[in-house]
Symmetry: C2
Subunit: 416 residues, 2 copies
Amino acid sequence: MELIEKANEEAIRRMLGAEPVLIDVVPAGEIVPDLQDKMILHAGPPLEWDRMCGPMQGAIAGITVFEGWASDLEQAVDMASSGDIAFDANHHHDAVGPMTGMTTVSQPVMVVENKIIGNRAYCAINEGLGKVMRFGGNDEEVLNRLAWIRDVLGPAMGKALKDMGGIELKPLIARGLSMGDEMHQRNVACSGLVLRAIASAMARTSDDTTALSESLAFISANDQFHLNITMAMGKAIMDPVRNIEGSSIVTAMSRNGTDFGIRVSGTGDEWFTAPVEMPEGLYFAGYSEADANPDMGDSTIVETIGLGGFAMGASPAVAGFVGAGAASEAANYTYRMGEICAAENPEWTIPSLDYLGVPTGIDIRLVVDSGIAPTINTGIAHREPGIGQVGAGVVRAPMACFEQAVRRLAANLGLS
Amino acid sequence: MELIEKANEEAIRRMLGAEPVLIDVVPAGEIVPDLQDKMILHAGPPLEWDRMCGPMQGAIAGITVFEGWASDLEQAVDMASSGDIAFDANHHHDAVGPMTGMTTVSQPVMVVENKIIGNRAYCAINEGLGKVMRFGGNDEEVLNRLAWIRDVLGPAMGKALKDMGGIELKPLIARGLSMGDEMHQRNVACSGLVLRAIASAMARTSDDTTALSESLAFISANDQFHLNITMAMGKAIMDPVRNIEGSSIVTAMSRNGTDFGIRVSGTGDEWFTAPVEMPEGLYFAGYSEADANPDMGDSTIVETIGLGGFAMGASPAVAGFVGAGAASEAANYTYRMGEICAAENPEWTIPSLDYLGVPTGIDIRLVVDSGIAPTINTGIAHREPGIGQVGAGVVRAPMACFEQAVRRLAANLGLS
């Protein structure tokens, strides 16, 4: 249908024309729209306390203590469950967050501006691996790290980024794809490239070499440091693609540990949700599927822009990490995702596939017609609060989300 | 023949058992054995002034001025051509250097210690791309950069390395192979990994944030920064493999822009030389084959340990850069080099080839029997002094070197 084709062309034009630049790090309360005190933004579509999974409730209790709204986790749970804390989805506030995706007023967020449009998107700084809040961790170690990020790392990054005029992300991602990253479960190359971009400016704007040394050590030791930058970039790229009449391109995929939700350009800001699936993957020593929480986080914005599971062909090393089969088969994931996308990205290419562009612009019609669900590379959280990451794997977006969206788009266009 | 097989097993055991660690940066005059004032170590087998190519003579003139032995380039050429300067090969002093490979007393050298044996190897710090001394550059810009490396960067790296206890290189290389480096013409991943390893320690041991910022910027901006580390590592790995009676494994390949030379374990420190070949490759804008100098540098130590052209399969992006054909064909170079090597390295693997180990231990018998010459990824220097790099390409080691070595080994074993 010509209206849909034209609309999708416009959607792809906006995606490929985006110019995302990491420009600053700012306390969320100063910059995230409509974020208030005693308010917690979380990953995925909106949901109420009683429907939240273990790690999401654990993270909410932890961040409530971190913000000083409660003196301990017990009081925090009382407040959260009795309506004293407001909840909303990150996606409703130009923000994204990995796994539980906690965004609250005092946390520093990285600011990615899409220079071609001027819109901005926000994401907190990645905490590293292991027992961290995004996987439901909430003890003193977790809160102390968040306090250090708030007091030391965030301000240092903000000063450096302002001094250097920001970091252009499109060429950085292009380079990372030639270095084995798919930018969801493997970000080691992009994390190194960001360090290369920012280290000198951090030194230039520092007056405390001890704090500087700690900050450089933290960035250097975190192979997933760039994940949250990729995410803020993804949100900055996709937000201007929303609300193109007739477009069947997915503008967001996200999950809260209970529901998986998608948004589609031609159906505005409505969420189409279905029960989230369990990842299939590999578990860290001592853990198994019995410990796993269902899939969670706004990080699927990475797949929405053609990276993560869609760029598996760039990252044979990740295939083993997420239990997706032999390294040599990684390319097949990328080829398959190409069948449900409207375009290839000529600026983000995969050298080993003779510079094939990553599949870009998930078309809900192609998903439903082909029966091929988007493949997502993901971390796996323990299902109980306070424990953290227990593995990594691959999960499919539920087909029911796409079927609902196709029906709604058809209805909007008077086709049903 | 059983003696040769046993000897080669021992050679491979020493290669794979090496534990190279980057431990320090020290002025060459304080640490390189038998390096004296008014003495210049150069790349490749030894040769006299009259037989040196243009960029080699240009670099020698430049470093003579840099060391203060002459007041200008003209006087330097007079001194060099009249016997006032002593020349020797880096390889005769536990050292290596890329392209022209200048090593002199005041230049800082990186020190790689092979912890399993205790031997050490040395290489100067990589100057970056463009007009640099290793490609024959010798003007004020080139000498000023060398002075800054001597006065600022070298001491800063030395302090940091001592403070942090060094950087283990084997796991770093393993990681770099999963990030698209082959470590000869592509070192961007390893350069980033070294920055990640050292940045925090450099901040911790710095009392001058301006100098620190400059040093971090220099390392961050140099995609080939790690090349010289790979080279010192290669020399530290291969030196203990020398002088195993009967072994047909190559312990060094090197070229001085005039001759290509190899050394073989079972024939001691004798060089087997032949006229060096011209690289086939791609030229930077404004340059062509007519400008190219024949192949040059000690950097072929990288191929001697299974990296560079031997690890092309890890680095599809480099195939285009050196003009070696389609990215998807990069693996064929690695498979072919496997035919002339005695082993695969189980710790240095290529994810996209389902974790095939890089081909390790060039056996001169296999080279001669198969007619397959080692493939080398290389930079291309302008043939006139003072200009610099003009391209990158692939070159073959001359078969005549291997034929001579086979005859000598056979003679040594009483077989001819």
